[in-house]
Symmetry: C2
Subunit: 145 residues, 2 copies
DNA sequence: TATATTTGCATCGTGAACGATATAAATAAC
DNA sequence: GTTATTTATATCGTTCACGATGCAAATATA
């Protein structure tokens, strides 16, 4: 009755805490450029492939449109992206990088390495990261069913 | 310039997604009893040791009091906990389980195993979980500096 | 013992997450 | 070709997270 309820035995609590703490590590680096972490994720998606509908971005980030839409509106207000109705399908909103959004990639060039270095520790090294990635990917795949 | 910005190379995105998806797995089980996942975490802390000040709960969950206070107030409104000024230190708010809060433990007895089973997959098994825990604990310890 | 500092908690504002619901456009069924 | 259904996105309400700030009690310092 006791052991299973111990915080120390909870996978979710560890993921939740680790996720929040890494996001906090991003905060000063991104905040300098007026970005939040979820907004940075949107940029990662658009830097890989510009001009995507809301749904493709949401799917990629494993989020719902009711989370992504307000986020994109804030980014539009900041002049980082534009949102415009799709030509062939008028239901779609196509999201495109502005010059400002595109140029942010150069300004944020050091972010991945900086955060990566902050996370390096005893059991998390370039050698062990692939194993960790594999387990997390399995969990994600499993829960997306 | 490209590779480091790929979503597939981001540890944080994996943690963020895995965390959200497991929390979603808890949702129907906890929602049945009017609980959210962070509220469940508070219960885990109080079931281990009742009558703790806000600060101890917050520290245990690696959260700030400005997150925990409103959360506890909602739990108080639900009749799950009580909050009362500390006797020896009047600044402290001591949080105690009500009978309802205490009894929830029995009602939620199947939750850990149900969620645990939902997460079991190829690379995440009772054998590999300790290794995963170790890496996450290291990351958390590292980032808490 | 006054004053300064620290500590514990709360308030406020903003930005996610997300379930539930709504709306319009596209597609399927009849 | 209507009607029904699905699809893409948006709106709404609630609950976190969290930085910034405020306040009162406790402690340290002068």
């Amino acid at each position: 009755m006791e052991e299973k309820f111990k915080l120390e035995n909870q996978l979710c609590f560890r993921l939740y805490t680790a996720s929040r703490l890494i996001t906090q590590a991003y905060h000063p680096l991104l905040g300098e450029h007026g970005l939040t972490y979820p907004q940075y994720l949107v940029l990662l998606v658009l830097w890989e492939k510009d001009a995507q509908p809301v749904n493709d971005i949401a799917k990629r980030l494993v989020l719902e449109t009711n989370t992504v839409t307000p986020l994109l509106k804030r980014m539009e207000a900041e002049g980082i992206v534009t949102r415009s109705k799709g030509k062939e399908d008028a239901r779609q909103m196509i999201v495109r990088l502005t010059k400002k959004g595109h140029d942010l990639q150069k300004k944020l060039t050091d972010v991945p390495e900086t955060v990566g270095n902050a996370v390096i520790c005893k059991s998390v090294t370039p050698e062990t990261v692939p194993g960790l990635f594999g387990m997390l990917d399995d969990i994600i795949k499993q829960l997306k069913q």
